[in-house]
Symmetry: C2
Subunit: 377 residues, 2 copies
């Protein structure tokens, strides 16, 4: 099967680029001497998880495979079903969700949950099968978590008792950074905040062995991970136009694209209609906040190269994308049915609309595998 | 099962509101004496399609059930598998997709395709099992289609030969309208453009019996449908904040919402964290272009009422929504796990992330059915 045979729109994954991206982050973790706990929220695929975990020093030596991070309990159930055990569910747990976690853990998984709430901590401790728990720390993103010196940190720890295994934070405010020095500063905030919080816990007699930090930008930019035990990141695996814009990876490190067919053309207006619209691409407009606004994605050729200049999906209807062609292409009017690939703004959201990857290895356009994704909740 | 028992986030469908919305549009079609060909792109559900089709005068008399519109071939295959035959695939066909259409048609479906391209018309005519075809007319939206007096209309008709069955248009520019007179004008453009194009075809000897127009706003606003044979509309079934803002339906006619749980609260900042984020709600920001910007959706209570004032999902991370609470709620801090419902900006895109509906009938919060959706392509 070749890319040109596939029904469109569909999701294409270049395994070479993926492998390169996985290697870079594995080296980052190795350099800092911390474990890498890949966040599967972007890929949602056991095949990708296995590639990522195979790079762990432990796995390479035939030992422990290492843990992953998940963003939904659907992911946790799916990965548990494929034999993964050590998982961090990195979205604040609710008391109502504890039963599902306990069910998976009783069946062999070891899902760690997070909380920043005293009532939830009590519910965890009172549960018949309480999961291991991290306290979520706010190191500057101000989404979830407690500030490192909040008295509540010790209150929650006391309620959790032996279920407490450490702290975690997500330096998501790094996405607002536009330079390496800024990201480096955010990375240091992540580290210092978590290290401070865990030192308070340990001083109060809690073992709290895990200090988990991470975001794709801060992971790459950090100069020190002293006191940190593990790194979480997800979007680095696939990359996207936004990550390339903020310099988290290079412009040629985007592993995922949407294969699309031309379904209309108006040469006089220098535009194409393609069958990748708002569902296939998502309505994410991340690059609007960067120096280069790529609309809903940039058109690439079948080899994934940006050979069409600045040809952008300017408007996205449900199943129609309107491509504004680069003026340098003149009256370029590829026939209806011509295929292109669209590089996405935000790969996590674009991939979420698709239930599988068509995997390619190189420029030959040969599809070598089909990998399923676990969507939903 | 009750709403409060459901895992979150998930999609809730109020069957009463749906039935009311379906009735209104059935009455519109009946008033104008045209067939209603409901567009299933929003609901993607056989259960919803059956409710819509049951309102056809033909079906009520035990006769023909009437046709539907689809936006993907996945929908066509799904509905064909559930016994629907007459379907209009309202996205420009490519030569490569003709085999799949032919396969479904040979197995009993009768999928009509659309084109505005001469080469595609020739490919249709040359296909061993050519589908019935409509020529797409541009009546002002400028997305796809030929202008009504374009000479190419007759060229394409000649190429299609007996496969030509009429014309279609989508007055999607009605979404830019902000008043009934404006929508009425767009509706009249839709009608006049299509009637003009089909009169040219008929004068040239083509029977062209079908004149298919529609969009939810123009369908409601039209004063005349003379010369039109059928009406297509989809989002009217569920409604959303954007449709309510532009006056296509009332504020209480939104049938679909996302059930969500509180996963964090910061009373001092008057905000909540909920587990409906960018995937569960979509990143659609339609209401940004209206008088009331609802962010990524407005928070409603478990009965779907807007009893929380102007509490808006201001920021949407992948699995986290940040709700800015209405200042009038003071230091309202519902415990972690409290459930709310979020009314969506754009129901087509919000629903696309979910694989099923949890159906309720009234304010009792009892879930009376689970209806699957057909996503993907």
């Amino acid at each position: 099967m070749r890319l040109s045979d596939l029904p469109t729109p569909c999701l294409v994954l270049d395994r070479r680029v993926l492998a390169r991206n996985l290697n870079v982050m594995a080296q980052v973790a190795s350099y800092h001497g911390v474990a890498l706990r890949p966040h599967m929220k972007t890929a949602k695929s056991i095949d990708v998880a296995r590639m990522a975990l195979a790079l762990n020093p432990g796995a390479a030596a035939g030992g422990e495979q290492g843990g992953v991070t998940v963003s939904t309990l659907a992911e946790a159930e799916y990965f548990a079903g494929h034999g993964l055990s050590d998982m961090l569910y990195a979205v604040g747990i609710t008391p109502q969700k504890l039963d599902q976690v306990a069910k998976l853990n009783t069946a062999g998984a070891d899902i760690i949950v997070i909380t920043d709430d005293a009532t939830v901590a009590s519910a965890i401790a009172a549960h018949p099968a309480p999961p291991r728990t991290l306290i979520e720390i706010d190191t500057g993103e101000h989404r979830g978590g407690l500030f490192p010196d909040d008295p509540m940190v010790l209150d929650i720890a006391a309620r959790l008792g032996p279920n407490l295994v450490g702290v975690m934070t997500h330096g998501g405010h790094s996405y607002g950074a536009r330079s390496v020095p800024e990201m480096r500063q955010t990375a240091e905030q992540e580290r210092l905040g978590c290290v401070h919080a865990v030192s308070r816990l340990r001083a109060a007699g809690h073992p709290a062995p895990i200090v988990s930090i991470g975001s794709s930008p801060t992971a790459r930019a950090a100069t020190s991970m002293e006191g940190v035990t593990e790194l979480r990141a997800g979007v680095y695996m696939f990359g996207d136009l936004f990550q390339a814009e903020i310099g988290t990876h290079g412009p040629d490190d985007i592993a995922v694209s949407v294969l699309t067919s031309v379904i209309g053309n108006r040469p006089s207006q220098r535009r194409l209609l393609v069958d990748a619209g708002a569902i296939a691409l998502s309505k994410d407009r991340s690059t609007q906040a960067t120096a280069n606004d790529y609309g809903f994605g940039i058109l690439a050729d079948m080899q994934g190269r940006r050979s069409l200049g600045r040809s952008i999906v300017r408007t996205a209807y449900q199943e129609h994308g309107v491509v504004e062609l680069d003026p340098q292409l003149g009256t370029f009017a590829p026939p209806i049915g011509t295929k292109f690939r669209v590089l996405p703004n935000h790969t996590c959201l674009t991939a979420a609309a698709h239930d599988r990857y068509f995997v390619i290895e190189d420029d030959s356009e040969t599809v070598t595998a089909i990998w399923p994704r676990v969507n939903g909740w």
